[in-house]
Homo-oligomer: 260 residues x 2
């Protein structure tokens, strides 16, 4: 099942995508919902960020090759995380599919993509085992964890390095009934493939992260967990287009502009 | 003006407190609202967390004596932050006035209070000067940034050290038209005064934090910024009661229980 959040005829609502048609629903996938008789051609609606999370979690450092590449660029030894300690991102930075990533005037040229899987929670989840925790997941979408590397390294926190407005593209929709271990992420810059990796190569997988988090935290419907990226990441500049594709979900595509 | 969020007669709504009476409103202080004819005695309603923030910001390290005390306990040199880099907390951890702080079974005894001022944003705010930024503030409430110190130091992030369920008491209500520089914070454990400090002694003040954040981030109605605490903090144990008082706002009081 394919869930979207969209705007059409001045209304914002959740919708179910079947083939090239969006069926508007009342309610939401996180509660009860009812299909309405209102439908739109998919290409005629404005897709929105598929969910505004109550809490926006991010695994951060979670793939070996990314850790090694980032350490090399700093001239440091790679340090792999010893345990699954989740981080956070911020809702102000979310943008939808096709919306522009805006690089602020005072950012350096080191503004880079990080293409990754996003897990969307469907039901309240507290102290759930790894074996059972995927039952609390609604589905999966795609995220681009855009990062200004000088701010990321120089500031005490990740606030502007990761959460400058427009730095968190997410979408285009949420797909249910997937096995995250089967998924592959491919990142393209201006139609050129930059990197591809299997989600299952994570240091800590989806089941482990969610189960561990749920020992201390209640995960709520609509919460998202971004799983981290693998490999080297490169700079994006004014006029570029960045795509993150996960076959089985879709393509998250965003143009890049720099403020003048 | 004193705003609350409350439950009464099975309904959740915002309310305006006048003397010892809550006047229910339709809408919210963040949008348009209308007073209704429904009123309740204040002591008969259940006060809820006064706002569920879209993004939950925390200044973190922002008072000199707290930096010095924390460094001494670790046997380290105090390191003052060179610039106002904001951090984050998480909504799962929020509880209201009088609700219990629950210490998990596997926490150490180093579970400590941090009493502080909370700024509540009222209007969208992007690139606003220090001189004007308080015009975007709805008002102020009180927070207790409960922290498990071994997790705070040992984990890669603050996820369970700061954001374990119930570790973020906030309330009891929001008061408008205050000058943050005039406010004092007093923390009491079991009726004993533990520490008192002036909000204006912060390394970076409310105006500076908000204005700097707004250069990169849009602050949205309902977003909160916790300003950090000063001084030493002490352990809380099963059966304790912790109070944070800011005259002009009120008292945030929470019992402490340990899971068995």
């Amino acid at each position: 099942m394919k869930w979207c959040r969209f705007q059409a005829a001045g209304q914002v609502s959740y919708g179910i995508i079947e083939e090239q048609t969006v069926i508007a629903v009342t309610g939401s996938p996180f509660d009860t919902y009812t299909k309405t008789a209102t439908t739109y051609p998919l290409h005629e609606v404005k897709l929105l960020v598929p969910v505004i999370p109550p809490t926006f979690y991010a695994a951060g450092i979670n793939y070996r090759e990314h850790v090694i590449e980032m350490a090399q660029k700093r001239g440091a030894e790679p340090a792999f995380p010893p345990q699954a300690d989740v981080g956070y991102r911020a809702n102000n930075a979310l943008i939808a599919n096709e919306e522009p990533i805006v690089i602020p005037k005072d950012a350096t040229e080191l503004v880079q993509y990080e293409g990754e899987l996003v897990v969307v929670i469907g039901k309240p989840c507290k102290r759930v085992s790894e074996a059972d925790v995927l039952d609390y997941v609604l589905g999966y979408t795609i995220g681009n964890d855009v990062s200004e590397r000088t701010w990321q390294r120089g500031d005490r926190t990740l606030w502007r390095g990761k959460n400058t407005d427009t730095f968190k593209p997410m979408g285009p929709w949420i797909v249910t009934d997937l096995n995250p271990d089967d998924l592959r992420v491919t990142i393209r810059l201006n139609d050129q493939e930059m990197f591809t990796y299997g989600v299952a190569d994570a240091i800590f997988g989806v089941r482990h992260f969610l189960s561990r988090m749920s020992q201390y935290l209640t995960l709520y419907p609509g919460d998202v967990l971004w799983m981290g990226t693998d490999g080297a990441t490169e700079n994006m500049k004014d006029g570029d287009t960045v795509e993150v594709e996960i076959p089985g979900i879709g393509v998250l595509r965003n143009p890049v502009v720099r403020e003048r």
